[in-house]
Amino acid sequence: MTKILASKYLIIISQLILAIVFIVAGIEKISDQTIFATKISNYKVFPIWSINFIAISLPWIELINGVLLIYGIRKKEIAGIFGFLLFFFIVLIFISILRGLDIDCGCFGTIDSIKVGYAKIYENVFLFILCLHLYFFSDKKANGI
């Protein structure tokens, strides 16, 4: 099993899926920071002073790390950062569902107007598993595969 998970092809697939998702998410958020800031404020969990700072910095963390991941630079560390972000998003969406908030996720800036819901959690859990895969297996040698 470890050999399969450590296969370089599986690693490349995880790497590309994560990189493309985060690059697209980053670009879309950067394209309209105001709308992204509004979507963050809709979650009603962040202090007002922090909203614009998050709207300015988060998309660039996603974009630059996504680009580095495409080239396979610092895979393990980037998988750690993306994993942390995804875990945070999952908790945030879950809290919003519990609070009954009917708001846009804001996950892809302006291109998606998908409401927060369990579908978004499943999507993020899938990406989180890819991060775990990259984090634990990207530097393991797959003997024979």
Partner: protein, 168 residues
């Protein structure tokens, strides 16, 4: 271990610095530490001949004095985005209460409205964002002429403009 921490920090801090630099040169840059709850307004524009600003790409924002001027020239439908109990205490005369928290596209009050009319949405004060959130919902429901009154019912009251309700 130390080098790993440095790598993590670099991968986080470097993009933040680039983001801040981009924000400072783009014309659509935001204030880094926003202190006012009211949403992110851009340059001054005219809305039906009245000075206004734009909150996001489709929604205009006016102050109560200018809304009153606009009321002289056009028929305005006022929409109160607050809770029904707040609405019952004080409101702009002839306003309609559509609480943002329970917004429903199939609300009969909403279906009865002509989407071509001119709507001004308000909530309690400059610190409240219900009017903005409701305006976004109405925009999505294909309402065309929307503006929010950014100083809310407090601004309206402070300017001595006519109100109704059970609270003096």
């Amino acid at each position: 271990m130390r080098s790993k921490i440095i790598t993590f920090l670099t991968l986080i801090i470097l993009p933040i610095i680039i983001g801040l630099a981009y924000n400072s040169i783009t014309p659509f840059g935001l204030n880094i530490f926003h202190t006012n709850k009211k949403h992110f307004e851009s340059s001054s524009l005219l809305f039906h001949g009245i000075n206004a600003t734009k909150v996001n790409s489709d929604i205009f924002s006016l102050i109560s004095k200018d809304v009153w001027k606009l009321n002289d020239r056009h028929i305005i439908v006022f929409i109160d985005a607050r809770d029904p109990w707040e609405y019952s205490k004080k409101r702009i005369a002839n306003s309609i209460n559509i609480p943002q928290f329970s917004f429903d596209l199939n609300d009969p009050k909403l279906l009865a409205l002509n989407k071509e009319n001119l709507f001004v949405i308000y909530c309690s004060s400059e610190d409240c964002d219900l009017s903005f959130l409701l305006a976004k919902e109405l925009k999505r429901a294909k309402f065309k002429n929307l503006a929010i009154m950014k100083d809310g019912i407090e601004g309206w009251k402070n300017n001595g403009l006519p109100m109704e309700g059970c609270e003096p």
